[in-house]
Symmetry: C2
Amino acid sequence: MEHRYELTIDKILTASVRNNPDQIISYQGKESITYEKFNERVYNLASSLIKLGVQKGDKVAVLDWDTNRYLEAYYAVPMSGAVLHTVNIRYPPELIYYTMQHADDRYVIIRDEFVPLVAQNKALFSFVKKWIIYSETGKVPETLEPGVNYDTLVNDEARIKLPEINENSIATTFYTSGTTGLPKGVSFSHRQIMLHTLAATSTLSDPPISLNSKDVIMPLVPMFHVHSWGMPYTSIMKGMKYVLPGRYDVPTILKTIKQEKVTLSAMVPSILYMLITNPDASKILADNHMKIIVGGGTLLRGLAEKARTLGIETIAGYGMSETAPILTLSTFTKRIIEMDDQKRTDYRIKTGVPISLVDLRVVGKDGKDVPRDSKTIGEIIVKTPWLTDEYVKDSEGTEKLWKNGWLHTGDLAVLDEYGYISIVDRERDAIKSGGEFIPTLILEDLISTAPGVNEVAVVGKKDEKWGERPIAFVTVTPKFNMEEVKKHLDTYVEAGRVSKFWLPDEYRVVKEFVKTSTGKIDKKPLRENL
Amino acid sequence: MEHRYELTIDKILTASVRNNPDQIISYQGKESITYEKFNERVYNLASSLIKLGVQKGDKVAVLDWDTNRYLEAYYAVPMSGAVLHTVNIRYPPELIYYTMQHADDRYVIIRDEFVPLVAQNKALFSFVKKWIIYSETGKVPETLEPGVNYDTLVNDEARIKLPEINENSIATTFYTSGTTGLPKGVSFSHRQIMLHTLAATSTLSDPPISLNSKDVIMPLVPMFHVHSWGMPYTSIMKGMKYVLPGRYDVPTILKTIKQEKVTLSAMVPSILYMLITNPDASKILADNHMKIIVGGGTLLRGLAEKARTLGIETIAGYGMSETAPILTLSTFTKRIIEMDDQKRTDYRIKTGVPISLVDLRVVGKDGKDVPRDSKTIGEIIVKTPWLTDEYVKDSEGTEKLWKNGWLHTGDLAVLDEYGYISIVDRERDAIKSGGEFIPTLILEDLISTAPGVNEVAVVGKKDEKWGERPIAFVTVTPKFNMEEVKKHLDTYVEAGRVSKFWLPDEYRVVKEFVKTSTGKIDKKPLRENL
């Protein structure tokens, strides 16, 4: 009992850095450091933070694109005993201020280009004790005080001993991108992150991802967004080459994929869409045979098929800010492995099956598990070792989130005969028509495969008779023909796969969709313009 | 903080059985059950044990070959709150009695063929409250009282609720096969086993094992021996088809490998040797392209090369009873992946690199890490989350095991430039000659590749001038020629890879080696006959 081993984030580095000291962490292919050097910088930074005055439990915020410095903070801040606050830099300024103030951020690591955003409202940020500023040029702006140069901290080798940390100490915090109401804060302990990392690496070894240390990863999930789905931790534990894209810019991303020979990525559907529709994409992507995990929105069949033509293996993943995030992946279970490849496609785009250690149920209003009939809709509820204990300073929200020891996701899903779940709606997006749910995600999935359709969103319009009726919004190519789309859907009605009653009353072509800060289609403005 | 998730063994089943209900557990290919059925039987058994009177912390022993019933006990006993004692059935009867009495076994699950062994000394086992007996025929012997039929327990569906278990509760206990002195007891908590399982599955996804749920595993490490290296837990977590060999018998094993299409196994070198030298082996093994983890003894180059000619990928693993057991695996790190296949062979047979979460050092007498020079010998010391806290009722042994927060393995090793360790000796097997170590394992490795040599063991003979000098014992084929072997070794001396001073003074041909209960060559009788 005396030889307690705390599950703290530094333990990810122990075996990995020792075994792969010369493995590479690359920033846009223009700056590279080895794991060994990275490890040194992380320990220097953690030690420097403490020397600067950071105390156990203090919140240290980061405002940055996806850079190697951000990756350093992912380790160094929790290792110093402090809490890493990954600020959503896609928020409007007032929400950036709101979340930083709500989180009680005391220290802020900030990239030079975000300094003006803060400096013009300096007085608001009086709760910040110290700004830790970096610039790729080495010369940092002096408009924020008191400030210190990040490079000084990370190069200070006069290290002090890091504190012992209990595994249940909070390591990270961030805010949901909630499309309704104010963002809600969630937080995760060292133990929760470590178990998430272990379970994810354990499950991802299954086909078709078959994760292993030969893979070169470039995550395209912003680092401010739910631990970049855990990849800063999982990939380093596996000893993989890690490529950071910086600010997302499609030509730079494609160039970097080519130069660094990236084999693995993860992203929301809209980023995948932007990548594969880029004119230069086909040549670059076809060479790399990439594997891409798509989450944060449904992986529509049309998009998966387009990606397939470029030699890209896609699988779906599902989780949320409250769940660290991974709950399910559409990796193949025994029954799917035994199918022929054509049939497997259906499973790649399902929301997946629970990963190791995840206890997941889909329950009806009566609290009972729904049958595995691909039809009956229920809410996903979960127990895993990596769920946020609460919304920060929000006991009412917390009470709704946790009921009877289960975290209630608010996501509606059906279960198929093999246990794969398919999310059919967010509870708040669901269309209730004539007393029944019309699953918008199923409609969006089918419409996405019609000729000429690029992106699609279905929302409910108030209706006197039915309560609500579905309206489909689409962005299109010149090939688009409304009658063809309707015929396309009719074939699914005839095949008995969708109910006639589900078909949208109306299709509207729009030039583009408004996206949320995490790149999902924002349905709010669509509903407001009905 | 209220939503605590305990890392208990039942959690392995949760996602895995849900996702793969029809995956198969096969006993010698003659009895098969699905994961779903297995899960039911496990829950029935756990519940029945409690109804029988088993209380939290009670020791429940198992005496069995590697059967599906044993696998059920691996889960059900800890899930009932009790402690699984995996009794070494290869011990002589007096040690079986000694360890069961030392462990305070209260309930015993026993296969019919082991009943006579106990029944003839019934009086000695008065500490046992109940014998839980099974027979493949269904008819159990009545010579042990009070007895109950295992089948009754496992089929009792009138389940009671299982108790909540704290993850730090002891789940398993067993005794070392120590070749000197009395066996020592070690024990492991639910948490330790769960973290071992997660880290092992995470690491084994690397090449050349590339573990995934498509693999069909048949472990050939006895289930009484260090959790069968964790495979009863890792393989089920991964949702793999699991094949149990029963009592080890080479023809049956080969037949089962063929019938069940086994792709993955793990075993000690002597079992691998027996398998590949069987006349029927080549055809069967060549078809399956098996991957085999070899541990519990050094994987000699000659054996690895022979296996390779049958299309078998071998890697080495290292651990001990005190470490649950896995510490290192010779899976490929970045530098090895980049090598050509020929060069990689050297790394497959090294003792390997630490797996995730393992902090491993090789330290000299001065307590400092040895250089990565493949020459300097030090002791392996470790910190991981799955080390036994103590030897049961042995504070003196415990004190020697744990010093300054590090578990001292007593194994001597060198480190190469890429961080791979190679064990050169057990501390107690080491030959000290002229004040310097002669690494017997390196000699055994080289001798094993000489023509005509089957198995080899090098031991130290007392010597007036040098203290000790090495003597080599070999089993041989008709091709064996002593002078050829000496010439073979001379080439390594000339190449500067071994010191002339290490060469054995003498070679002795023996008919066969005495093996320990876990199948390793027992050096004790060799030393006694010098």
